[in-house]
């Protein structure tokens, strides 16, 4: 299939020769966690989203040929950067997209910068990607820790949760989320009474939850994701944390986590996301198509980000008439064009690489309020795009002057 596509592309290029409908050939790699705790929030679902983006774009632009490959970074930055190196150098990949796991994303971002290729982060969260570690080859789509902290953190402090204890995943993402949420909590007038760091992919949280209980904090902030968050919430229910008067703040919770927990355990959780499948008809229609490849699963905002990111990249590739070898030039083109796709609507990409769009404060429904499978959330509030993300000047990004 790939060989035929390649031959067809070659034939098309040779046949054209001159201008007219400019042939655009690009190769995209989806680098994700295919087999471990983040495989449901990214993983094969991201590949399905990528396929949809390519199908939709090439239908309207038949002069564009896209080759798609995928790989598993296994949550290890060394494996992630090794795959990125090989893809950019040997396999002639132009764009790498997704990478849930901030450690891997930061490593791949460096590789993209060195090789002057393009990297769109949909899965990872650390706000450092558009902060001190920003570069001209990386775009951060979907969400980041600052948005989560200021969405969920501020909202919870405003409703009375003013003392916090953090349960943090001990790597780049957890540290970033803990740091940003601490800042948001203190800005809103709350205080942090303690924190504990656990290794990534921990099975048993009873010891950490016990420490959280004895701290007597009103809110236990879960600065972790995926399987870690699921285990923390499940075990917190077991230890009677919520019954004892403390509340849980799931700082990063996805629809797939809520499905894994079940509504009886997850109900009442407050979280912030930038895309929810059931929010409007366009999202629902897209979800139906996505589910043809991922039966029984629910798409997360990360999958939506992969779709939107690829769509915008292909638009930029067409605008540059297929000259995609200079990564910095393509990213500059992407930043100069306003974004518009069926999932995120209209938006922009800032000079620091941050894509901005509104965020939504969501609350998990009670089981009695859920009318059909996948009916997980009530939308509590909408945070407009200009408030949802960290102000441009505060990020310490070297690309931003002043």
């Amino acid at each position: 299939m790939r060989k035929t596509l390649g031959l067809a592309a070659l034939a098309a290029v040779l046949a054209c020769g001159g201008a007219s409908a400019q042939q655009v050939n690009v190769k995209i790699g989806v680098l994700s966690d295919m087999s471990s705790l983040y495989a449901d929030i990214g993983g094969p679902g991201s590949v399905a989203a990528a396929k949809l983006a390519i199908a939709d774009f090439t239908k309207d632009n038949p002069n564009v040929k896209v080759e798609l490959i995928s790989g598993d970074h296994q949550n290890k930055p060394d494996i992630g950067s090794q795959i990125a190196n090989q893809w950019y150098d040997v396999d002639k990949v132009d764009l790498i997209i997704d990478t849930p796991n901030s450690g891997v994303a930061l490593a791949v971002s460096q590789v993209a910068n060195q090789k002057n290729k393009i990297f769109i982060v949909s899965g990872a969260a650390a706000s450092d990607i558009t902060g001190p570690k920003c570069n001209a080859n990386t775009i951060h789509w979907t969400y980041d820790t600052w948005m989560l902290a200021n969405g969920t953190g501020t909202a919870i402090v405003k409703t009375g949760g003013d003392s916090w204890f953090f349960l943090t995943a001990d790597y780049a993402f957890g540290h970033a989320l803990e740091r940003d949420t601490m800042a948001a909590v203190e800005k809103a007038g709350g205080k942090v009474v303690g924190k504990v760091r656990h290794p990534l992919n921990t099975n048993d949280f009873s010891s950490f939850l016990l420490q959280a209980q004895s701290s007597k904090a009103k809110v236990i902030g879960l600065a972790n994701a995926g399987g870690d968050t699921i285990n923390s919430i499940k075990q917190a229910a077991e230890f009677g944390i919520v019954k004892g008067g403390q509340s849980l703040a799931g700082l990063l919770v996805f629809a797939s986590d809520v499905a894994a927990l079940g509504l009886p355990t997850a109900q009442g959780l407050v979280l912030t996301e930038t895309w929810y499948w059931d929010m409007n008809d366009a999202n629902r229609a897209w979800t139906k198509r996505w589910q043809q490849e991922r039966q029984g699963k629910w798409p997360t905002m990360i999958h939506a980000g992969v779709y939107a990111g690829i769509t915008h990249y292909l638009k930029a590739a067409v605008a540059l008439k297929g000259n995609v070898s200079d990564g910095k030039a393509v990213v500059a083109q992407m930043k100069s064009m306003p974004t518009d796709d069926p999932l995120f609507g209209k938006g922009t990409i800032r000079p620091d690489g941050r894509k901005v769009h509104p965020a939504y404060l969501l609350e998990v429904k009670k089981p009695s309020d859920s009318k059909y499978p996948g009916d997980f959330y009530n939308v509590r509030a909408t945070i407009p795009a200009d408030e949802a993300f960290r102000p441009l000047k505060e990020g310490n990004c070297p690309l931003v002057s002043g």
Partner: protein, 295 residues
């Protein structure tokens, strides 16, 4: 209320109790591994996957027959034990005369297959499974809140561990089993069906793993990778306790659970690695393990 190393005594006793609870999972799993290695000389790397199968079996039993936790506690280990027997008859019986490594490779490959199939059908986020009604809630012990389910976990694993140790070390059936491992030809000459005993022993070891899986389902995330996260630690436990020793596996399992619990209090970031540090030290000092018989 006094302080030990800066931690209030209340918190410390709570962590010790939690350590015991985790230790009971380690003990159950390492018991199955020790039984299989001690009796069969097979390094059963698919133990973690079989633990995962036990948890998934409990979920599927609930989905398709409506039977809850208590029936699943018996049915799931039996079902998974039967698959263990099938594996032994089809694959493992050809490997006894060969180097240990072949058994390791085969069972490792099996583990990868089982995990991959589970992930393909169920995804990796996990499946919901709740604590049974009769065990919900807990009691306030003064120094901590102990969920009833966790108390049940300690009691059940202690019971199963002591029962298994008793059968193997103190009954005639156990004596036949131990004799069959040392000198199968002679034992066969006495008219005892050695191959069948070995098959049933492997099935029993696998059933122990599945039993631990069912016990874990309500409190740990039922996901395809739940076994692989645990199995490495359990192997370290078995190595520290001594590869062939049943009692060693049980005592080390509980002991290391407590050590890990204490590490989580004083230096949580190292809680993943402390067991391996201990393993390295034990292997340097006593290569056969703390209770091991083979010199």
């Amino acid at each position: 209320m006094f302080e030990i190393f800066g931690i209030p005594s209340q918190a410390l006793f709570g962590q010790l109790l939690i350590g015991l609870i985790n230790g009971s999972f380690y003990a159950l799993l390492s018991l199955g591994l020790a039984v299989i290695f001690g009796m069969l000389n097979i390094i059963n790397f698919s133990h973690g996957a079989q633990y995962m199968m036990g948890a998934f079996a409990a979920y599927l039993i609930l989905q398709y027959s409506g039977l809850g936790y208590w029936p699943a506690l018996i049915i799931a280990p039996v079902l998974v034990g039967i698959t263990g027997i099938i594996i032994e008859r089809l694959f493992l019986q050809w490997l006894y005369k060969l180097d240990h490594l072949y058994g390791l490779l085969l069972t490792f490959g099996l583990a990868l297959i089982l995990e991959g199939v589970a992930r393909n059908y169920f995804g990796s986020a996990g499946l919901p499974y709740t604590v049974p009604e009769s065990l919900q809630g807990g009691r306030n012990l003064g120094f901590m809140f102990l969920p009833n389910y966790r108390a049940w976990v300690i009691a059940a694993s202690l019971g199963v561990c002591i029962g298994t140790w008793f059968v193997i070390e103190r009954t005639r059936l156990g004596a036949y089993l131990r004799a069959a491992t040392e000198n199968p030809t002679l034992v066969r000459a006495f008219g005892i069906n050695v191959p069948r005993m070995i098959t049933l022993t492997y099935g029993f070891g696998v059933a122990l793993a599945a039993f631990a899986g069912v016990m874990a389902a309500p409190i740990y995330n039922v996901s395809p990778q739940m076994g692989s996260e645990l199995i490495i630690v359990v192997f370290a436990v078995v190595v520290i306790g001594g590869m062939g020793s049943i009692l060693g596996a049980i005592i080390t399992g509980f002991g290391l659970g407590v050590v890990e619990g204490l590490t989580k209090v004083f230096f949580p970031e190292a809680s993943n690695t402390v067991i391996f540090v201990i393993m390295a030290i034990v292997l340097l000092v006593r290569p056969a393990g703390l209770f091991g018989r083979r010199a």
